[in-house]
């Protein structure tokens, strides 16, 4: 991308900062809302909406912190860099110069790369903490990630063939003009594969074995505390919301305003929540087998579908 001047570049960075803030706050609020919904299912009241913010302030203001080495510091930094990097290349609001971030030709590749990046950084950081449960959590998390990336990648390849572009902005542009143009209608096979992968991505049950608070004290972040943990908490909200925005852009026609974005992403999130409260947890081998069977087959079918039916 070529910028006319320094000031234009600064303007874009400022806009991105604003987007980052809105998406993070939105992610935290959605997190609280989901907690409250789950609490209602269980007959409880649930946390106040301000709770995620207070938790972050609390962990940030802890007075002591111990370190386990340089990678231990870098783990949360990589993680949040992965979250910010993912958001940086996703156009959040279609048709808005201000909120299209650094979207460009080929950004879809970059985004998928960044989604990996944070996880791997976190794996290195948690590995350095030396806690055996972290190592178990990482092994489970990474193997599950490898499994759900297969249907997701197949679905992405399918829509890349369908729209003949690697730019998220162009993919969103091609879906404008009514719901009948959304990928979920035009290429429902790919959407189905991606939504199954999405269940694994969000880490709710049945695919929450890598966090498993009761068995492997919440897995990879076991040793992270104080300010390290506050970074991870922020990233959890940011990254979660970013993934929702990406799915909305790729499969559900994007959004032309913040309200539309919030309604659509919330509905997409509800898919994972409904499945999560209804199903018990898979063991890691069951989870991996699940992804390699039906979702992967659907993913392959989606490519065949675009080639045979849509071509």
């Amino acid at each position: 991308m070529i910028y006319a001047s320094m000031s234009e570049w600064f303007g874009r960075v400022g806009n991105f900062g604003l987007t980052l803030l809105i998406v993070t706050v939105y992610g935290l609020l959605v997190g609280a809302l989901i907690e409250r919904i789950i609490a209602k299912v269980q007959g409880r009241v649930g946390i106040p909406y301000s709770q995620p913010f207070i938790n972050i302030a609390k962990t940030f203001f802890k007075r002591t912190a111990v370190s386990h080495g340089i990678m231990f510091y870098l783990g949360p930094v990589f993680r949040i860099a992965g979250g910010i990097g993912t958001l940086a290349f996703i156009p959040v609001i279609y048709g808005s110069e201000m909120f299209s971030n650094f979207s460009m030709a080929g950004d879809l590749f970059l985004v998928i790369y960044f989604m990996f990046f944070g996880q791997l950084g976190m794996a290195l950081g948690a590995g350095e903490s030396g806690h055996p449960y972290s190592a178990i959590g990482i092994a489970r998390g990474l193997s599950q990630m490898t499994a759900y990336e297969v249907p997701f990648a197949l679905a992405v390849i399918s829509i890349v063939i369908q729209y003949d572009t690697l730019s998220i902005t162009e993919i969103v542009a091609a879906q404008q003009g009514g719901w009948q143009n959304w990928t979920v209608i035009t290429n429902w096979v790919a959407t189905l594969a991606a939504m199954l992968a999405f269940l694994g991505m969000t880490g709710y049950s049945p695919f929450d074995i890598f966090l498993a608070p009761q068995e492997i004290p919440i897995g990879p972040p076991t040793e992270f505390h104080s300010a390290y943990l506050s970074f991870l908490q922020i990233n959890r909200a940011l990254f979660g919301a970013t993934k929702l925005v990406l799915f909305m852009n790729l499969f559900f026609g994007g959004a032309t305003g913040w309200v539309e974005l919030m309604i659509k992403t919330l509905l997409i999130y509800m898919v994972a929540i409904v499945v999560g409260v209804a199903f018990p947890r898979f063991r890691v081998d069951q989870g991996i087998r699940f992804f390699f069977k039906i979702p992967t087959l659907i993913g392959i079918m989606s490519i065949v579908y675009v080639q045979m039916v849509l071509a």
Partner: protein
């Protein structure tokens, strides 16, 4: 933490063999000071009080009283209280009942791994004065000889409401900045350690578990 062996400010770690000593940090903990700006400290205390994470570690029969608090009837999550499976991230340690000498060792290890400010609620008569185990050969009678306690709840066993009331009072105390158990522990570390070693005969861990 540094493994600096030359400085004077270290723990002896005499319970460990020479090989093992190299594996553990031997720094001596230091008391922490409040933030110098009062508004920041007040805000931090408010946040700490409104987000209490309880370490999921039940030591005796009283800890069964924690479960009703989590479920629909009392639902402590609405007060910003949650269970946390790892000591690194939790800030409240509820000593749920009698403490056997064996458990005491684990409690010390977990407590020292928690990050300050950290608070202890002693639940039930047993940690206060031994309760009905007062003449048992393997439980300790007075818990605050071994770790600093911020709040006592007596009863055998106390009702969940009593525990809830104690947590609420703890919150008020934290808000005004009264709960400094972690600092008391560090300032009187030698006294606490001497007491702990008096009952724990097989001391095969570092003197302070970082």
């Amino acid at each position: 933490m540094s493994k600096d062996r030359s400085s004077k400010n270290t723990m002896e770690n005499s319970g460990l063999s020479a090989d093992e000593q190299l594996l553990f940090c031997n720094a001596r903990p230091e008391p922490y000071k409040p933030y110098s700006i009062k508004a920041v400290e007040d805000f931090a205390n408010w946040a700490r009080a409104n987000s209490l994470w309880i370490l999921a570690f039940g030591t005796g029969c009283c800890s069964i009283e924690l479960r009703p608090l989590m479920t629909a009837r009392f639902d402590i999550s609405r007060f910003g209280i949650a269970g946390r499976p790892t000591p690194r991230q939790s800030s409240v340690f509820i000593i749920g009942g009698y403490v056997s000498v064996k458990t005491l060792k684990r409690i010390i290890r977990s407590y020292e791994q928690m990050q300050g400010p950290k608070f202890i609620i002693a639940l039930g008569s047993c940690p206060a004065n031994g309760g009905m185990y007062f003449d048992s050969y393997n439980t300790i009678n007075q818990f605050d000889l071994y770790l600093p306690v911020d709040m006592y709840v007596t009863g055998c066993m106390p009702r969940p409401e009593a525990l809830l009331a104690a947590i609420m009072e703890l919150k008020e105390d934290i808000k005004v900045g009264n709960c400094d158990g972690a600092n008391r522990y560090v300032e009187n570390l030698d006294w606490y350690k001497a007491n702990q070693k008096k009952v724990i005969k097989n001391w095969d861990m570092p003197d302070y578990n970082w």
